[in-house]
Symmetry: C2
């Protein structure tokens, strides 16, 4: 479906300055494909192609470019033409672009825009990042309730070119309070003399401007919506979130969750693995890795406290890594399952006790299996080991197995509890999973290990 042969062709058009060829190319390909093809070109070449594309598709191509490419391209576009391109962008993409610009360039641009666009940008950029208000668009179709179906279709027809979608139209009163919605399908199926209020759905599903963007996206997913209306504190319609933006929000939040699970910080630029510099990849990871190394100092101190015990019984030192690893693995599993269940809204804080009880029972089963396995492992690997004093290999194997089983259960509870605790303190549960958790249960695991040895072997 995508023809890779078109890219060299495009370069040819540029070299020979074939204006008609470029125009034809822009008409023939999907805007998302054009954006993909032209991304590797220089900013000047990208602008040349954009300026030759038909006026209606120019903003469509532009919004499909990656944010960083958008920024470098805007730097080479002449002022007046940039102002006109920005006026034509969908309001949500426009405000995202303007927010990323340096202060002076933003001020300069704002002066070139018309009053209406300026106010729209100010309003949309006033919502906090991560809320429904910050991702909504103001280009929705609205209808008064007393229009006839025929008039409503005619109104949507006239407005269609400027709206993100005309498949859902929102019915509002004189104060722009949301009364309901009609789909274009409803209108097409209705009799032309019926009124909008006769055919509209009064139970419109909506969200509020300050709701979390992921909650809004999950509502769109749950109810299979094409768009979700967003209302302010007064119940007035202020924007909509469309299904394609919801899909992007879900993908973005999932990438963030996975990266947090693996302790990778920083903002992830969409589609940018290879284009992100080594240095910024490094910075995103180093913060966490260095933090974990610092936390690892605690494990180091604990190990040193028991240096005498280890000197006396080297066999205990040999199985330290096994206990730490097993705890890390089972704890990470619990944390992952809980983080995911929280993200998909399968469980919430009120389920804390039920989740802990369930993970506790799963951990008991895992602890039994792993306890027996670790006992067998010690008996097999250390069969010829020197055992000091009046201890026996069997006794030491039992001690290690008990410590490992306790570690499995405690890691599972820590792995379950930390994400829930993070949620309670309004933090993202994903940040306390995996590497962070592994480092935490290393500490608890060593304490369990040495105390069990003290207790069982009387060291």
């Amino acid at each position: 479906m995508l023809n890779p042969l078109l890219v060299p062709e495009l370069r040819d058009y540029l070299r020979t300055n074939d204006v008609e060829g470029i125009r034809e190319f822009c008409r023939f390909c999907h805007q998302a494909s054009i954006a993909e093809f032209i991304s590797p070109l220089s900013p000047e070449e990208i602008w040349k192609i954009l300026s030759l594309a038909d006026q209606e598709i120019r903003p469509e191509i532009f919004v499909h470019l990656d944010p960083e490419v958008q920024m470098v391209v805007t730097a080479v576009i002449p002022r007046q033409e940039l102002a006109s391109l920005i006026t034509d962008l969908p309001p949500d993409d426009r405000v995202d672009l303007i927010k990323r610009m340096p202060e002076d360039r933003r001020e300069m641009l704002m002066r070139l825009l018309a009053q209406a666009e300026r106010e729209d940008i100010r309003r949309l950029s006033s919502y906090q990042e991560g809320t429904a208000g910050a991702v909504m668009t103001s280009d929705y179709a609205a209808l008064p309730p007393d229009l006839t179906v025929a008039e409503a279709i005619q109104k949507l027809r006239l407005e269609a070119p400027d709206k993100e979608t005309i498949y859902y139209a929102y019915v509002v009163d004189a104060n722009r309070r949301l009364l309901g919605f009609v789909s274009l399908k409803d209108l097409i199926l209705a009799l032309s003399h019926e009124t909008v209020s006769d055919v509209m759905h009064r139970d419109a599903i909506y969200c509020r401007v300050n709701d979390d963007q992921e909650d809004a996206a999950r509502i769109i997913q749950k109810y299979d919506l094409l768009a979700l209306p967003v209302v302010n504190e007064q119940g007035q319609l202020v924007g909509i979130i469309t299904h394609d933006d919801a899909m992007d929000i879900i993908t973005q939040e999932q990438t963030e969750d996975i990266e947090k699970l693996m302790a990778i910080g920083g903002a992830h630029l969409a589609g940018a693995y290879l284009r992100t510099s080594v240095w910024s990849h490094f910075k995103n990871r180093a913060v966490w890795i260095v933090g974990l190394a610092a936390l690892g100092l605690v494990s180091g101190i604990i190990i040193h406290q028991y240096e005498a015990t280890l000197t006396q019984m080297l066999i205990l030192a040999l199985y330290m890594p096994m206990v730490a690893d097993t705890g890390g693995n089972t704890g990470s599993q619990s944390a992952t399952v809980v983080v995911r269940a929280l993200a998909l809204r399968e469980v919430n804080l009120r389920d804390t006790l039920r989740v802990l009880w369930k993970e506790f029972r799963i951990a008991i089963l895992l602890a039994l299996v792993l306890g027996v396995l670790s006992w067998a492992k010690v008996m097999f690997l250390s069969q010829g080991a020197e055992i000091p004093g009046d201890h026996s290999l069997e006794g030491i194997a039992v001690c290690i197995a008990i410590a490992l089983s306790l570690q499995v259960v405690s890691s599972a509870l820590v792995g379950t509890g930390l994400p829930l605790l993070a949620t309670l303190f309004k933090l993202d549960p994903a940040v306390v999973a995996s590497p962070v958790l592994t480092t935490v249960v290393d500490i608890t695991g060593l304490l369990i290990y040495f105390n069990t040895a003290n207790w069982v072997l009387g060291l």
Copy 2:
């Protein structure tokens, strides 16, 4: 927006057998909400409510129930009514339900269905799980190219109740080969005497029946589509995948990726954390955890091989966990980033060398920082330690720092290489990340550690 007060009200209606109340409830709420409210009820109660709901919304409520709930409810529905419910279901949901039924129940049901539905089910169920064919629906709107715009709108109007969407209609020739598509918006904006072929888009984006379902979903996401047409080997249109199904595919694939990253096997039932039994949670995790414990045997054997070295110099045993953990953390980060970049189609196998080179450079930076930190840590923690023979603490600290730095670089390369290797062998890259990777780099880490000690300290 969702009124939790409705649930007790609904139980009241059921107890007092208030048929009108239940009908009103089903008309008032969104089908997804009704499904959520009635899920905790008994199968008989669920069927009672379904049977009272209006005929058009009954299948809509049913498809929003979780798959397991669907199965237990179908068991209590009388045969003829079950056949009629199944006939009314959207084709993709219908085939999913029938595929999950036990053989005898499936056979019985198939006999009760009309010829057309039987053939549709046979056709849809013939595609392999995970392909576009297995998730598409056959309820799409198709138009011949020679219809006028007015005729086309009239046709869509008549067919609207039976189609998943009428916002996109696909233009096919007499052999059902895909010629292009028109949106309802295009038709509404066109002049009524123009023909469909005048206004249609000829460059329809499509996928093939055997394409991966995630690839299909990513195309819908990339091009902001409402639906993606699916064609067979002959270029004939056989179905469409809608935007809401694409969103569910993406969420499902993400959950699978995250669970594989954390070594959790088995099929994840959507929305089912609390309802999944302890035993099946245990089974999903135990396979991996036991496998990892078995793989851990290799680390155990290596440690035992160097028992004499460790007896001679206990300080090396004390820092084994640090080297293993650090390798696990940095390796997991690389693997996560690569798995995610592969899933989002940011990189593919052809980029292998570029990805390895990038991760190598990031790892060098991390190795430098962590090497210095681990040197300082050994100098600080072991300041009073007994050092045997003619060795110095400085020398041992340098040795540990070198081993840790080498471990960081090798773990990053293993973490990058394993997912790419898995992709080469058509395996899911996510299965070789995190706990699996941690266990693998434990082994390489111990080998690096003891060999470095041999080489630097001459043990």
